[in-house]
Subunit: 359 residues, 2 copies
């Protein structure tokens, strides 16, 4: 039985290292194939390992000195964090010691460090943050959720290709439908970026279904939604904010509205619980830094042990299915069909030739 | 008793003209000062007026031939819609026959037509869509919610000035706090647009509190949130989508989870109702096209009669308090303090002088 090794930055996140080590322990119990490389402060991590009686054959612990803080600037973290738990966890992937790495820490620092250490897959212009977005029935993949504030249409096109691969592997959909996030559904809506991206995707032969609006994402009208990292991050956080507001109101009512409401809330909660998992951030926890030459998973900083458990399971799944080999293969296949990562450049060259412009 | 006249485009919106005329009837009953100028198709509107026994002294009805459709392109609607109910309602404001106008129709067509017919207030570069955004406790004003996909920092700065005036009038706050929508709170976060806008607002002496993230909007950390129309529209719709998803799940559970959950839902709903008004789109209905030389209110196209009633009340409130005179006065005051609508140009000229560049 071939084992899958996940390297863990045990120090990032609000409840770390308790949540991270606890999650690893949970996953190890359920999955005999998984092995952990845990990086973190000896005095904080070892007591937790001991308290859990974490079986020694299921992990290697490496003591690290530094911790990347949430307020550290990405480049500073990369340059000065060589001895940090985050850096060591990424290094383990580059050195072939781990199949994937996971951190709940500083997103910007993790992205920049991972990009510098691992590099990108061949031909990929910009790695992106890709994650599951909660919908009524299924999940959908959205990218970019925050790695690139501003993108060109050719970068958006690459996001579509990579998101398609991720949806095939994670959502197990044969020919995922792709949509561009926009402020309207009509062809004329949006900025130049949306309109140029639309033209590219329309002529690509992919399963492109057009624009999707913010309120339609949750309806699951598309399997993959592409957008720049600024817009993706805004939409993700606005949805989180609205859902959290609803949950807080629900709790407030149960507490302050007397016995009748309390009984109501209790009865409803039991029925609600199953449905709520669809939109629980801890269930949907774990985003992939897609396009890197190595699997890096970012867990939400405020994820609970249960949340980190789900993110580790995602890391395992992507490593086990060798997502990056699949992305490379898929892109090669598309390349052969003339719509790979260099599709945009080819279109530009063709247009230039037709117009008699030398390139 | 001076009356306030509201001109209504009775034909825009999903439930129009029933919702629009019904809402006018509701408001007329409660507010003796209000008078309506109703524009719409005779065969559709008159039967509703008769069915409601709408007192004849409270309205004037003007039969119109055309209706702007939701799919009509804005410029086409402006050029070819001269006989439409929407156009006539706006014309009434320009001609001084109405103090404000309201439509539930095509947002783009309404914005372009209103801008062409009414023009902008002196010095205003771009009118914006400004509306209340639901939060836990209070309301906040957000702009732009969709009029300008792309903006410069000087336009964002003007949004802050206009939003500040609206918050003073509508939210009755003395010195409203202003924040810029962004993907993080740190000064280094965001695009060039956010960073340049940050510098301008920081040096303006206004009550500027920095950046605000999507999930913090609902916490009501600011009174006014400024952003470009693309981002504002995405965030607004994403929040709506998440809230609607929650409401739908709640309904589903009450229906399909047996008696216990049904009882629970019923009990909870009674307690929930009051709190839910905070986030009900029909309660928060009505956005102002701010910066125009005339009051134009856009109601949500899917607003119910109750929703349109709230939007008409907002139109009344803004007309009664003469919002545009207040914006003009406030901007003049700020102008005298050196931070008015031309603040940005002055800063640029000063920098140019210091740098020895001729302007």
């Amino acid at each position: 039985m071939q084992r899958i090794v996940i390297s863990l930055d045990a120090m990032g996140g609000i409840d770390a290292p308790t949540s991270v080590v606890g999650a690893a322990f949970n996953v190890a119990k359920l999955n005999p194939r998984i092995h952990f490389l845990i990086f973190g402060s000896e005095d904080k991590v070892v007591p937790i390992l001991q308290a859990l009686s974490f079986p020694e054959e299921r992990y290697d612990f490496v003591a690290t000195k530094d911790v990347i803080q949430d307020h550290d600037k990405p480049l500073h973290a990369f340059k000065n964090g060589k001895e940090s738990s985050m850096r060591k966890a990424i290094d383990a992937v580059r050195e072939g010691l781990a199949n994937a790495c996971l951190s709940c820490g500083n997103t910007g620092a993790l992205m920049v460090t991972a990009k510098m250490v691992l590099g990108t897959l061949p031909g990929v212009k910009r790695p992106a943050i890709a994650g599951a977005f909660p919908t009524y029935e299924n999940k959908l993949i959205m990218l970019d959720m925050g790695a690139n504030n501003e993108c060109s249409e050719s970068v958006i096109f690459q996001f579509a290709l990579m998101g398609r691969c991720l949806a095939k592997v994670v959502l197990q959909i044969d020919n995922p439908s792709i949509a561009i996030l926009n402020v309207g559904e009509e062809e004329t809506k949006g900025r130049e970026l949306e309109q140029k991206s639309y033209e590219l995707l329309k002529s690509s032969g992919l399963n492109f279904i057009g624009y999707i609006e913010g309120h339609d994402i949750v309806k699951g009208k598309a399997d993959v939604v592409v957008t720049d990292g600024f817009s993706g991050n805004l939409v993700l956080k606005a949805s989180e904010g609205a859902i959290n507001m609803f949950m807080t109101l629900l709790k407030e009512i149960s507490k302050n509205s007397g016995l009748i409401a309390l009984v109501g809330a209790f009865l409803l909660k039991r029925a609600f619980k199953k449905k709520l998992t669809r939109i629980d951030p801890n269930v949907n926890n774990g985003a992939m830094f897609i396009g890197l030459d190595g699997i890096v998973i970012k867990s939400h900083g405020s994820a609970t042990t249960f949340g980190v458990t789900n993110a580790i399971s995602l890391a395992y799944e992507l490593a086990n299915r060798d997502i990056n080999a699949q992305i490379t293969k898929e892109i090669k296949d598309l390349e052969e069909r003339g719509i790979g990562l260099n599709f945009v450049e080819k279109i530009k060259q063709t247009s230039a030739k037709i117009l008699g412009i030398s390139t």
